[in-house]
Symmetry: C2
């Protein structure tokens, strides 16, 4: 049953390794001029014509025709109904996942704080949730209920008053699990629209769809391009690249487990990237064997094969230390530490979206129900960004409340520095508050 799979095998001690790794990791977002122009047109049209434009594009792209934009909204009952309609085991699984995600994210809530300095001046930081947030959920086959939980729950935990979900229903096709997840997450309103027109409606507002402060959630190239364009008018989350996993293994995990962990990444799409790094050459051989034996049995074998052949690698290193260095260089979205004492490696890990520790922690658990978010920085952006979290739906305001004494003392300092910068109105504004007898 086994078939030969042409997977890249690298040795980190070879001279050409750095270059070959760079080639393997190279990823450029396709920036298509025609996509750009289409999106710019749709955004401008929705901005000026509002609901009429949204209805027209929904008819054109999703083949859903309505006479009034309000028909594009789903009522609360249909969400709750979707939840009740699920098979009991699926419903229970969704509820358990939602509970675990909520309970983890509650730990991320940031609180306001203040303190008084010795001149009686109060300084602090006020934390406020955003007023209204939009969540984009892809339609059709790629509609993932887990994605609804991961985007909506942090927003509600942050205290966002109104979470608006948009999800296209191409040809009228509604995904009951997605609606059930929306009900469980506390989504406030759902509109069955998608594409750049949905992003535009959320960013600018229409008579029917209220304007939001931030738009999050995954989407195709039109959605991603639209989000990039409305950034500034509203906040957006990261523009995600293809999903990736890096497994660091000491060679003592069942190679079938590791092969399946790599597959679970590869099955997302052909551009997904799966990398194993291990100091154990025989283990690398064993995983390759598992890959070749298991691949033909997989439902999504075609996608997995393309992803493995084009984007995967099994990397042999002299030791665990070099393996960790490679991981830090790659800054993977998902990092599995499939070793005996993962705690010992943890302090050395500098960049990763999520770290899955120990042989039992399959990355797939994190996708659904571990608790932490599955929206993670891709393509090396874990060097400077974080998982989606409650902090993405809260913002801070600085608090400054000077006592008269403090204003007088600090006014002198501000005055000197403002004059040093040639800003005399700044200086005078501060000097007015300096005590004349001081």
């Amino acid at each position: 049953m086994s078939e030969k799979v042409d997977i890249t095998i690298l040795d980190s001690t070879e001279e050409s390794f750095d270059e070959r790794l760079s080639e393997l990791l190279a990823w450029d977002e396709v920036s298509d001029k025609s996509v750009q122009e289409t999106v710019t047109g749709i955004l401008a049209d929705v901005k000026s014509r509002g609901d009429d434009a949204v209805m027209a594009y929904t008819e054109k792209f999703d083949r859903v025709s309505v006479t009034s934009a309000s028909q594009l909204e789903l009522d609360r009952d249909s969400l709750q109904g979707a939840l009740e309609s699920l098979e009991q085991s699926v419903k229970e699984a969704l509820i358990i996942a939602a509970d675990r995600i909520r309970s983890y994210h509650e730990k991320q809530v940031q609180e306001s704080w203040q303190y008084k300095d010795d001149q009686g001046t109060v300084l602090g930081q006020k934390v406020t949730p955003m007023d209204r947030v939009g969540i984009y959920v892809p339609g059709g086959k790629a509609a993932y209920p887990s994605s609804v939980l991961m985007n909506a729950i942090p927003a509600k935990v942050a205290g966002v008053a109104e979470v608006i979900m948009v999800v296209p229903t191409p040809g009228g096709q509604v995904n009951q699990m997605v609606l059930a997840a929306a009900a469980l997450s506390g989504v406030d309103r759902v509109f069955t629209i998608g594409g750049a027109q949905a992003v535009a409606a959320l960013a600018y507002g229409t008579d029917t769809v209220p304007a939001v402060d931030k738009i999050v959630g995954p989407g195709n190239i039109y959605v991603a391009t639209a989000k990039r364009e409305v950034f500034g008018t509203v906040g957006i989350d990261m523009i995600a690249g293809p999903s990736e996993i890096l497994v660091l293994c000491d060679g003592k995990t069942n190679p079938d487990w590791i092969a399946m962990d790599l597959f679970s990444q590869a099955e997302h799409d052909e551009d997904a990237q799966s990398i194993l790094v291990s100091p154990d050459e025989q283990f690398i051989e064993a995983v390759k064997e598992s890959i070749e034996r298991l691949l033909p049995t997989m439902e999504r074998a075609e996608i997995i094969r393309k992803s493995i052949v084009n984007r995967a690698a099994l990397i042999k290193t002299p030791d665990m230390k070099s393996a960790v260095a490679i991981s830090n260089r790659i800054a993977p979205e998902h990092l599995e530490l499939s070793v005996d004492e993962p705690e010992k490696l943890l302090p050395e890990i500098r960049h990763a979206g999520a770290i899955f520790m120990g042989r039992y922690t399959a990355e797939a658990l994190g996708d659904y129900c571990a608790g932490p978010n599955h929206v993670l920085p891709t393509s090396g952006t874990a060097r400077f960004s974080s998982p989606l979290g409650v902090y993405d739906f809260q913002k801070r305001s600085s608090i400054i409340n000077f006592s008269d004494v403090g204003a007088s003392e600090m006014g002198k300092i501000a005055s000197i520095l403002a004059r040093g910068e040639g800003l005399t109105a700044h200086a005078l504004s501060a000097e007015y508050r300096v005590k004349q007898d001081g």
Copy 2:
């Protein structure tokens, strides 16, 4: 001495108010195609030719010619020397400001956390500083030492190992206060380069300038455009619009103080926006009188006049409650609560970059030495973004460490949900860890 100033006066109860306010607030970043093309060319050139391109553009734009790129680096001694060369009062003021900024930002440091659930599974969040950060500092006259403190200190407090500053020196002109601020902030390396070529060098790295993980700091339209383009390769901070202040006043502050507070915003540049909102009509008249009397005495009267005439407004409201509602709609960068008991208004304030409480808290104090950051969200983006802070230089990784029991229990849940989404490799990867006897 008084001169008539044609400042906009609005009444929030008038029917046309909403529309007039929207017009006043309207701000579109100038998106110039020729700027875009120039920047794209410079970025590509620096990416491919490295130091040679950086040297060529530095000669072209800054009229600084060097034979080796290493000559574009300032050594540590010249930074320390700049600090020692300052007048004693200026040096002391910079030191006091740096100390206060450091001590406020130390309160923002986020710590890693972990907890164990009742199945013995460890979940948590690991907080790590970025490895290397670039700070852009504009050259020439607009070089502000306070901006160096505000950008570099949070990065160092976050624990960033290497802070790289770039500052152009047009015609060889070096600003000693800027270098002194770099010395005080703990900047690690300084390169005298600017423009899109400096952004490119930081984003891609050259033989001389190391690649960074994030680029922060203000710059002209070329710098802003370049930052937008390299976003994704590196992190960036917000692209700032013109600076704004909104003063809420009960009418009992000295009108000269308020006029000067408005001027301190207006003197930044002609596009800066200064707004007073007050329920006291006579006070609004008094502030107008102060503006007309004080304006001719100002050093930067020309800039202030243009800003006040084109972008400012004095807004009369029926009461303080409507004044707060207008402030929340505007979501100002700087908000002064010039009232008796500002604490009482604070819970009603939903969106603002920084809140300056009480009659003594001039906004200018916050620009230099109050402690909180002066890099704040502009143009209404305080609805969804925060002041620059330590959190902008730290990032988070999720921690997941399943016990064998936890992996078995949650594996069943993940399997159900993965199969619901049609992702069978995910399901199998989880199922491998489910105990067969369970």
